[in-house]
Symmetry: C2
Amino acid sequence: MTILSFFTRASSRAFNGYPLSPKLLLLSSLSLSGGGVVAYSESQAGVSKTSVQTNEKDRKKKRVVVLGTGWAGISFLKDLDISAYDVQVVSPRNYFAFTPLLPSVTCGTVEARSIVEPVRNMMKKRNGEVRFWEAECMKIDAANKKLLCRYSVENNSVGNDEFSLEYDYLVIAVGAQVNTFNTPGVLENSHFLKEVEDAQKIRRSVINCFEKAVLPGLSEEERRINLHFVIVGGGPTGVEFAAELHDFVKEDLVNLYPMVKDLVKITVIQSGDHILNMFDERISCFAEQKFCRDGINVQTGCRVISLSDKEITMKLKSTGEICSLPRGLVVWSTGVETRPVVKDFMDQIGQCNRRVLATDEWLKVKGCEDVYALGDCATINQRKIMEDIAAIFKAADKDNSGFLTIKEFEDVIDDILVMYPQVKHYLRTKQLRAVTDLLKDSRGNHRDEVDIEGFKLALSHVDTQVKNLPATAQVAAQQGEYLSQCFNRMNQCEYNPEGPRHFKGSGRHQFRPFQYKHFGQFAPLGGEQAAAELPGDWVSMGRSTQWLWYSVYASKQVSWRTRVLVVSDWTRRFIFGRDSSRI
Amino acid sequence: MTILSFFTRASSRAFNGYPLSPKLLLLSSLSLSGGGVVAYSESQAGVSKTSVQTNEKDRKKKRVVVLGTGWAGISFLKDLDISAYDVQVVSPRNYFAFTPLLPSVTCGTVEARSIVEPVRNMMKKRNGEVRFWEAECMKIDAANKKLLCRYSVENNSVGNDEFSLEYDYLVIAVGAQVNTFNTPGVLENSHFLKEVEDAQKIRRSVINCFEKAVLPGLSEEERRINLHFVIVGGGPTGVEFAAELHDFVKEDLVNLYPMVKDLVKITVIQSGDHILNMFDERISCFAEQKFCRDGINVQTGCRVISLSDKEITMKLKSTGEICSLPRGLVVWSTGVETRPVVKDFMDQIGQCNRRVLATDEWLKVKGCEDVYALGDCATINQRKIMEDIAAIFKAADKDNSGFLTIKEFEDVIDDILVMYPQVKHYLRTKQLRAVTDLLKDSRGNHRDEVDIEGFKLALSHVDTQVKNLPATAQVAAQQGEYLSQCFNRMNQCEYNPEGPRHFKGSGRHQFRPFQYKHFGQFAPLGGEQAAAELPGDWVSMGRSTQWLWYSVYASKQVSWRTRVLVVSDWTRRFIFGRDSSRI
């Protein structure tokens, strides 16, 4: 591929002609797990001419506006049949960023530019028109189906910065913002690790800490303070940053700043009892032991209560004791909260009491027509089986006998499993092999039929297994892919609904509800070691897992360009080390 | 080399041991021209432990403080025998930047990080101790041989930001700053192209201009204004930026922003009659024709008199007419002026009436002991031959006859040529083959001897050929190299002076004066075309020259790391085009 397109570009330059248009079919190699975005063709083919006014032809098409170009937005756009809709995208960033590699950017293991791909680049390769606006959505007017957007870069440019857009369908994929839990001083005195710019800023600041610490005229104590790196939050991002920083210091910086190499200290502050506590216990334990060997200080059971320009103040959860630590650089990585524009939208649609925007199982926002929300900005409000239990019983009890036979139950099992994923989790937790095992009596004996009370009792604990999906790239990408499939088959499924049956009414749902498939999760721990939770409760740790990490992350890149860049960055780091220039 | 050090790093990681120390001798391949900095070994060998206090041993060594890590400073440090001196370096940037590639960074042809090399990286590979402070020199106290320095990054760090340094020898290589000629509005409303950060900012701004221009709700006129890129200054930097920008737009951006591709306009404003007027006329002409074909608007004979946030106002030199142009992005690239710290220093040493710091032919600052200045921050005040003419005559006229014979003149010719480089320029201009031809009479006949008046007459026009050296990387690098040779042979040459004889006194000068060798200059013009002025008044233009440019610039990189990165950036651009993400 690269060879051919090299010649394409080279020849188009050499003969001053127009680019040739080879149509190349690219298949992402090494597609180990799902939920990713496959590679786009790098050819110059299919350059679409988007016009600013809506075309006559497009006016008949439904207008879809997508807010955001993160994992959810981009994976929605990737598979959407754009010939069927008039698609507009609004995002303050004109690129997609491969966020799982952000911690690597903080220390220069990977360059910022290697993990981003321009949205326009991804869109121009489609046979259709997607219009992109680099702007921020300031207000969603759900009643009038309108958006107010603003170009938010200070740029000395002429022309109105604000404009409004109308939509028929709105897809909200704006992600979330860092949650400071209103801790005083955090906004002013700490770094976040959410955007590409954050990672670049951290990188410069780490170098600055070292440059300041070696200056003449500082006491050893002052040098120590400047070189005390504090990470608040022991989740995957915080832990990976701590590991990256440790590697950067040990492998590169100690050689350049040998006079302060013994003064560096890295502290991870975690409010829970263990770091990486969303992972399997074996992984938490492995990570803590690895950090202990590396000299990374892990403070668990601590909640940060304030941050000044010199100190970080914490409360020990167990004793209530309050202590302060002098600190250098602080990175705050404790979780996310809803963005103001979404909060305002929630107020409009009667979700003002909720913390996060709620959608149904089809990713449609509750209390609002034609608005979908996916990724970190929303959660699926999974319906409880106990709320529908009477309707399920009634629908299943075909002969209206008042009793449900095993046969009758088996008829509705598929629909139940699709509508209530908690049933599956419950079966796994209880180690039941078949759904009909639920109907066994308290002594474990098979029953031929149950009445409504028996049915309720049998399913009474199932809803304890309702789980919110984690705020990860994997979930967002799968949701985007799912929603684009729904949009592509909108007409088709209106007449031939493919979803499970309505227990409360008649007929079937238009679509199957969204189902998340967990393909596992990585936690890189530095020193070429990583831990991974793989499907089927497998846990893998050590050096080979790091290589698995390399191959999976290389394969999941959104374009061949970023794939080549990321792999060459890794190679460069291996050969030359990381760059310590403060730029 | 790369393979070996790859294994070195790999094995040091694999066995968790310490890096092996291969001593590798590297020779910069393709060293087509001089004045460059050769590659450093990438091995981990020779990690120096610098201590913050001056060592007992070092106290006997003379303290050399170098201000600046640009071409002059770094090439001085590269060759300096650091075992003989206690060397300290002060610079606000902890890296060396390969400035000739800055215009390429503005459009992403080359990444910013590919053209920088950390100073500490370059220094740790030396067998000795160089202490580096990332700080800005705020004041030079020449009387007390002291410097006041300040760590100038806003970083929330603890400890005093100011410190003072004492020196025995001071080497000023701080470069110069952009000269706005006090034009109103320039500082607030334009971009410069002097530092790496400037180039990164321009890159983001170019993308912003396009993103703004395609937003809904702008009139076509507003789109046009936002896409009007104005470059003030038709020197090599301005012209190269215009060419890079044109390529970026034509090769990459028109595909991504097709709806505004016909609205883009690039204007170069030059106060002289031609762009690139420091080059040979054929090159100026070639460049202007190339720009004309490319649709780049060249306005010569125009002086910018003010810059507002919307308009640029110019005065036509020929007619005095004043006109204004609405503009988008403005890049100001018109020349340099002295930095405030140097200006203040000049006031102290009695150079307050000069525009630029003056040094003698040995790069020693005039009016001050033990201070040297090189690169863009100083000029050599070349002594005139007519000022010394009587002394020269007296020294040459060994028999005190009052007449100078050809034989006597030949005895001093070598010393004259070394001390007064203008003689050589004069001979070349007048197409004289031998120096003795100067003594011919007005009809071109040989004379056997001349008296003092005849001698004065013969040399009376020589001083018209005194030239200030241009503010280029080539000059700075050669000066740094020259000065380091002087420092290395300081003791040796005190007893065995190697310079030309003193015409006014007795004995010889300690060193030969600095002599600049011009190895030619490039002007890349975009579209894989370049022009070059080569030694011996050769001029080369076109596609092959661009390839010569590629090979020379690759060979001149200061490290193998940057060489690999720059070449791979060029390759990446060739295959994938330039990245248009706004980061």
